[in-house]
């Protein structure tokens, strides 16, 4: 069974540009999460999808970030326009259930560097 995949693995862009990150969860997992880890800091929750609906987007930093999950399969996270502080590693995870006690399976992350 394929795990969670993320694309691209790395992205280097200039401030003001747009970047779109993609996450393909494990097949059959209704729950999809986005997280971010800024260098030297802890992982921070961004957003949680249940199928195609945003269950919790309390962690999204601002309106420059837009997440979608059309059809309830893969998800995209767009940053537009990117700022220097958006640099970090963006992780995606998926799970079958979502009551806090469910195992989350993580992708390898997308390393974003904004210059």
């Amino acid at each position: 069974e394929a795990g969670v995949t993320q694309f691209p693995s790395h992205s280097v862009i200039e401030k003001g540009q747009t970047v779109t990150l993609r996450c393909d969860p494990i097949s059959g997992h209704d729950n999809l999460y986005w997280y971010r880890r800024v260098m030297g800091k802890e992982i921070k929750f961004l957003l949680h999808f249940v199928k195609e609906s945003k269950q919790d987007e309390s962690g999204m930093p601002n309106n420059r970030f837009l997440a979608e999950r059309t059809g309830g399969t893969y998800s995209t996270l767009k940053v537009q326009p990117a700022e220097l502080e958006d640099s970090g590693v963006y992780f995606c995870a998926s799970s079958q259930g979502a009551i806090g006690g469910e195992t989350q399976y993580f992708g390898p992350g997308t390393r974003l560097l904004v210059l």
Binding site: E42, G100, G101, T103, Y105
Partner: protein
């Protein structure tokens, strides 16, 4: 605000000994607490979950304890091996955070042969 603290300094342990990692939390009453392992360049990998009404959980060489009075979880690896070297993250969750995981910064464990 909710705070999760893990030892920021690397923990060096001799192979074969027991490694013990600490996770303390404040302003928080988690219903669940998960431990993950993260290797460089990879995403976190789930290891163990313990519930608030459980004192201890074991899985092979791993053991997790949960003390809601001390607001602390301990993660033990017995008979440690160099392959256990990684960063270990604790991530509690509760209704207060919509059951979303709140992460510690992780402790880097180095097992020396």
């Amino acid at each position: 605000s909710q705070k999760i603290e893990q030892n920021s300094e690397a923990l060096n342990i001799q192979e074969g000994k027991t490694a013990t990692l600490t996770c303390n939390y404040t302003n928080y009453s988690p219903a669940y607490l998960q431990w993950y392992r993260q290797d460089p360049g990879r995403g976190p990998v789930f290891l163990l979950l313990i519930r608030e009404n459980e004192k201890e959980k074991r899985k092979e060489r791993l053991k997790v304890t949960f003390d809601t009075t001390l607001k602390q979880s301990l993660f033990h690896i017995t008979a440690s091996q160099p392959a256990d070297s990684a960063t270990y993250l604790c991530a509690p969750s509760s209704m207060d955070s919509n059951y979303q995981l709140i992460w510690g910064a992780g402790t880097k464990l180095i097992i020396k042969p």
